[in-house]
Symmetry: C2
Subunit: 280 residues, 2 copies
Amino acid sequence: MGLKVAFQGERGAYSEGALMQYFAPTGEEVEPVPCSSFEAAFEALASGAVDRAVLPIENSLAGSIHRNYDLLLRHTDVHIVGEINYRVRHNLLALPGVRLEDVRRVLSHPQALAQCEGFLTRMHLAREATYDTAGSAKRLREENLRDAAAIASLRAAEVYDLVVLASDIEDDPENYTRFLVLAREPAPPPQGVPAKTSIVFSLKNAPGILFKALSVFALRDIDLTKIESRPLRGQRWQYIFYLDFAASLADESAQNALRHLSEIAPFLRVLGSYPQDTTN
Amino acid sequence: MGLKVAFQGERGAYSEGALMQYFAPTGEEVEPVPCSSFEAAFEALASGAVDRAVLPIENSLAGSIHRNYDLLLRHTDVHIVGEINYRVRHNLLALPGVRLEDVRRVLSHPQALAQCEGFLTRMHLAREATYDTAGSAKRLREENLRDAAAIASLRAAEVYDLVVLASDIEDDPENYTRFLVLAREPAPPPQGVPAKTSIVFSLKNAPGILFKALSVFALRDIDLTKIESRPLRGQRWQYIFYLDFAASLADESAQNALRHLSEIAPFLRVLGSYPQDTTN
């Protein structure tokens, strides 16, 4: 009976690679549970069908995934308990026995194909766009394609029993996705552990209002690690802010800063307090 | 001889719809120029092959498009001269003569299919994922598909001579994409015109440093309309910030704020100063 962990995508998706990386050092037995959508992963967690969910929240090239912030806001029964900075490494996978010179076409999601543009051009390989990286790996296996390869995660090679013809074939090595680990119970780290707290708040528009809001952290020497504004549609000049700061809710200074912020912000919610991923 | 305007995508892409909407009130004759990538659109502008480029920079559901910020930073020869808040309206398109009851399957990009989930389920329509919305519309025409429909822009209906079986079929009407209009020469609006200025700057990590940086705007009563931090990979605890404020570079207070900011920020660049889109 392992820990059931929901992720979005097919078996072998990058999200599954990320969750395996996160739980590996804990020694816990993990059972990844694929979900067809982010919503389904949240539902699985909220309903108790799984113990954790691991979902992408921002990518170094593509930016923040607002959809998952929306779901975090909607699900007051779900809390962030961890984060992973996952390096997205693209691999060229094929059926065992297939050699690089046999490959005529490469299947993958358009974004993955685009991120490996240089490699594909150097190798004179034709691209075939599909709508999923792991799904492309699965197709090689299911349709026994021996003239094709897929760009997907190492995890997909394990899941579909494929060989790696080339690894780290992405043009830009600075491709990281930050994933959040979600649970039904909050778990703020004890003092002394490098921690982060993620909050969402809104502000009424007034000159200098954001400056005032940030003063609650500056006055207490609390570092910010992320800030992002998002306009509230239909409410002109109204914004919500996503903010991460480097402290645990277990710290008194963090509690004081949030009490202070609630005097300024009409809406404030703590999404979770969790150990910082200090590996990347 | 119209104004040549580059956009990314196939003819009929949502980007083409956005640029037509932007230039319509100017009465200028416009020749949209499709480009295969964002890079290609920047190159076309920088080389003089086109007069303007129109590129998406953020979406209300999907977030900021960091890739285009990267390209703006790299292309010091390109300036923002305008913005458009474009409402993404999905339409069900088919060949003339095809009726809704003839349609067995709906082709589109997975994201567009997902955004019309409610409609497709109510109508019992099978989904077929492709890698482009406009490309799906084009396929109906090229392959003479009479049992299929595509989810794409109204512009795609014009370009490929299709009929609209249903319009505004998206589940969430709050789907907006903000596009930037780029040119080779900066064009800061005169005083009195509601304006925005977009800047990028970096800060050395120190407690309260962002607070200090924002003070240059708060002290001069300049409103911020966007702020977003982005970690610089490989440089731990180093960030760059994307910031938009509501003033023109023609305003003395904006010039003073930027001079003040340059005392604090090791790196600072103005991406452009342009009239605000006040329609949405």
